[in-house]
Structures are given as structure tokens and as C-alpha cells.
Amino acid sequence: MYRYDEFDQQLVNERVAQFSGQVARRIKGELSEDAFKPLRLMNGLYLQLHAYMLRVAIPYGTLSARQMRKLAHIARTYDKGYGHFTTRQNIQYNWPKLAEIPDILNELAEVEMHAIQTSGNCIRNITADQYAGVIEGEVEDPRITAEIMRQWSSFHPEFSYLPRKFKIAVTAHKNDRAAIRFHDIGLVAVKRDIGEKNYEIGYEVHVGGGLGRTPFIAKKIRDFVPKAQLLAYLEAIMRVYNMLGRRDNLFKARIKILVHEIGEDEMRRLVEAEFAHIDAAKILAVPKQELDRIGAYFAPPNYESLPAESDILDKARSTDKAFDHWVQTNIVDHKIKGYAIVNISLKPIGGVPGDANAEQMDAIADIASQYSLDEIRVTHEQNLVLPYVKKHDLKNVYDMLAAQNLATPNLGLISDSIACPGLDYCELANARSIPLAQEISQRFADLDRQYDIGELKVKISGCINACGHHHVGHIGILGVDKKGTEFYQLSLGGAGDETASIGQITGPAFTGDEIVDAVEKLVTSYIDLRQPGERFLDTYRRVGLTPFKEQLYAPD
């Protein structure tokens, strides 16, 4: 993975020093809250319901074991023993004290981490496919591009005061696990034939996707941007947005609204015109040496040559049913023979989606050191990944995970729901999200039942900001507020992958007491309606909203 060099480290250190000074001035009363607020927001520090919240960036979701240990240490020393992994592949601490923020940032800087640009109207942490580099069928490791974009977007002088926050995601695989069509800019690395069996790598560019109050699927504005021109093309998009994006209305300030208002064709025309100016200057083409230097950090590790199948694994599977379930559900094929990609579910039955305590984080770091070449990934579905586990080590890994309640075999199943912090923590929330996720997973705890239901993505947000991605849930749940009490709106048929779709609202909202029953009714309807081999989403797409709605609102 990428390692800081002296430049990266120096900039992070300088930023920590700068913010430490600002914190000290605020505490002494030399800085007013009005002046301090935008500064703390630029450093990932929010004020939530009960305390401050610090959001730490995990660039493209890749962590080393050492970094994970530091995250555990921070949870234990400065917070209340846990952290929350978010849908943006970041981690949030819910209880830091203002005076200790500089210490936390210094600790993070020791392991090449920071909280810069995790809030504010700037280019946020860049996200990527969690299986980058280890999944079969990739054009290249998308983290090379993500890292270049990370550097380019860090402290960008022109784009740090945009109309609104800006999110970029990248994948290099036809199966979209990074929800790139729901980002301000989504990139797909693709190959282009240049004759004589040679090819060139570039990017398909999608612009103006997003969730929130007005969800949109991004529009593809370019089929191919050559690699060397990517930054110039990105600056062109950003400049069009910075010049024309709306600043008169917070809810209309995202680039998706601009694209919607001026239209896809006009957007393309403006970006191309801007691109022509910027590209002509040639200053944004990253030199080949630097591309190679960054690429080298993501070069495949020295894989051992292993047999495709492992006797140890087969034997363990045949004798341990729980392990067998876990392998079936949480393991994904690795591109290298004899290796496996392990998904660690952070959704134990009845647990808080995405939360991990310090002991669990330490355990995961140890497992990664011992069995996964020191590396861990964070997924936007709030789980973790061990990308380099040998098949014959799977049972050991499983046992160690199980000892920490980290081996729930539910990846992609109904109990693997996404939930934002909601009204239990979040200042902006209308309703709680976490308790719903907990109740749903308890209601459907029975594994045979979950397997029978099959893939079903439940996504829950506590307000229209949609941090829980409810619009792209097969079943989406949105918390709304009616005179200080919580209500929940259901939507069906959303998908965040390459078949992108936005869920349709079923009808009147439900109370907190009714909502889990309502979800169960939807599941029952699906089981009645499905044809062999159909997932929930397939059935929904075939039959539409009506049959589900009839069941849902039928008088008991």
C-alpha cells in the first residue's frame, strides 16, 4: 500500500500544527465560534448531539495493521473504547474532547493518517472498490488512480470552497462495489484498444450522481479519458461546477442539481470547453515516473504458489457447519490461486452496524499481520475485508474472528444492513437508524431463514441526507420527524451497483413500532412472489411496486 514520503508527512504535520493553534485560540476565547466552526469542519471535527465527533479519513478504504492498532489505541485512550466505520470508508469517534484533538491528530500523523477534508465543502476522501487489486477481472488496481487523486485534491487551492461537498469514487471492475453512479464524480477504469494487441488505460467518467433530498444517477459524460489527461479533465469538471454551481440554496448546491438544471449535453459541452483550455496548458499531466512510483506501491505482493484447493479447508468445512456457512457467505474468490478474500461482518445479530471496539480492532490488526500481509480494507457497506488470506489459513482466521464476535456469516443478507448513526448521535437526524437495524437483524436472526431469503440489502438513514444510502437499498428506510416523534418511510428497488436504480417510496410512513413488521411483510410478499433463482431485487424489478404495496398496506 501507499507509504507517505517526506512531503506527505510534512504537509500533514504542518496541518496538525496549524489546527492545534486554532484549537488553542478557540479554547482561550481568541477565536469566536463563528470563525472556528469552518476551521474545525475542515479538519473533520463536528459537534453532534452528545459530544464532538472526529471523522478520520481512510483513503480508498485501505488500512495497514499498524494503522488499525492506532485506531484502537485512540478509541481506548481518547474515546469510549470504540469507533464507527462509515459508508464513506472512514472511521468516526463519537466522544473526543476538544482539548485532546491535537493529541489525537498527532497520534494519527504518526501512522500517516489524518482528518483533513473529511468535512467541509471540498473534495472529500476518495473511495474505491474494496476488492481493489485482489479481484479477478480488474483493468488495474483502482487505488493507483485514487492515490493520485488524493494528492491532487489535498489542499487544492481552487476547490476548497466549493458550493458544497464533493465526492469521488473509482473502480476498475465491471461490477460496481463503490457505488460510483451515486457520486459527484464516478470513474471506471477501462481499456481501449490501440491496435497491434496493445491497449491503453483510461476512464469512463460519470458526473452528477448523488443521494440526499434529490437523488440522481450520474450521467456518463465521457467514454474515455486517457490516463495522462485525467487530472486536467477533473479540473475541468470542478471548475465548471465551482463557477456555475448554485450557492443560493444549500439543497440545490450539489453538482447533481447543476447537471440536472443545465442538462447532460450542456454539461458535457462546458466540461469539454474547459478541458480544452486546461489540457492545452499541459501542466496537469502527471509524469510517467511519478505514475510508476505510485503504481509500485500497489504492485501485487509476492504471492506463494499454492494449490487451488486446500485439504485443510475442505476438511474443516465438512466438520464445522458454522465455519462452512461463513465460508459460503463471507468469502469471495481471489484472483490468485489458493488465496481468498475474507469479509469481516461488522453486523453481528443485534449489534450496531459498523461499530468496532478497541479489542476487536486490535484483534483484526493481529489477524491481518499474521494472515493477510498486514492489510485491511473498509467497505462502504460498513464491513471490513482481509484481502490476502491463504485458503488453508481460513479456519484459523475464522476462529480468531469468532472469538471476537466478528464471524457473523451474513454478508449481503438481510441482517447485513447499512445504518447511519441517526438520532442516537447525529445532530441533523430526524429519527434513529441503529435500533431499526438491530431489531431487523434480531427478527431475522435465524440463519436458514436468511439464506432462504438470499441477497437483500436493507439501508437505513436517519434523515434525508441519506448517509445510510436508503435510496439504493433493495429495501430503503428513511427516518422522518413528525412533531418530535419518529416515523419511517419505506422505499423499494434501489440498487447502488452497476444496475443503478433509485428506490420508490411505498406510501405512508410507519411508526417505530410498525416498521419492522412492515419489513417482514415485504419479505413475505417477496417469498410468495418470487420465481426460482430470483433475488428480492429481481422479483421487485419484474413485478413492480403494486403487489408489494398491496400486502404492505392491507388491513390485518
Partner: protein, 107 residues
């Protein structure tokens, strides 16, 4: 921000978060900020509420607290309680972690 003070509210109190920790506090006697709602000054009627808020907004208040506002409380047989779920959670702590927040301090 879902805040629930309304002109029709009968009883109200003033709340804020501390600068140091972001902790929830309530405006109390002698200009102090206290961590528990039962220590807060509760006033009746909109006029009294506005007056209370004004009193809380001393020029130096920003040194100690931020995010100050009025919210509605209701009288119960166990004293005043917040009307909204939001303020109930602020007064107690996360409902999913009963070991954290004010509720954990056994009060």
C-alpha cells in the same frame, strides 16, 4: 436541525453544548450551565422563554457553550421531561448504548 421549541410550547428550557467536550448542558440558576435537566430553569410561556434565552446569551457565553437554543419540556409526575425524542436522547445518551452518556452516570 430538528429543534422543537414552538410558539405554542407551554414549558421551555435553554440547552447548549460545552465548548470543551460538546457535552449537553442546561441553563440553570446563577447563570450556571448544568448537566442535568432537573437542574435547569424551566419557564412558562413564550415571553418568559425568550427572556430566559436572552439571559443565557451573555456576551462571554461563547467561551463555555455553543449551539444554544430553547426546547419544549412537559410536566410529568417525575418532574419535567423533554417533549421530543431528540431532546430525550440528548438528555440521556444514545439509546443503543445505555452504558454511555448521562444515563450511564446513574442519575
Amino acid at each position: 436541525m430538528a429543534q422543537h421549541a414552538t410558539k405554542t410550547a407551554r414549558f421551555q428550557a435553554v440547552t447548549a453544548n460545552t465548548v470543551q467536550q460538546g457535552e449537553v448542558v442546561y441553563f440553570a440558576e446563577n447563570g450556571a450551565w448544568q448537566p442535568r435537566l432537573d437542574q435547569a430553569i424551566i419557564v412558562e410561556g413564550n415571553e418568559a422563554a425568550q427572556a430566559l434565552l436572552q439571559k443565557a446569551q451573555r456576551p462571554d457565553a461563547e467561551l463555555y457553550v455553543v449551539n444554544m437554543y430553547l426546547f419544549e419540556v412537559v410536566k410529568t409526575k417525575n418532574g419535567f421531561k423533554p417533549l421530543s425524542v431528540r431532546e430525550t436522547i440528548r438528555a440521556a445518551g444514545p439509546t443503543t448504548r445505555l452504558d454511555l452518556g448521562k444515563q450511564a452516570q446513574g442519575e
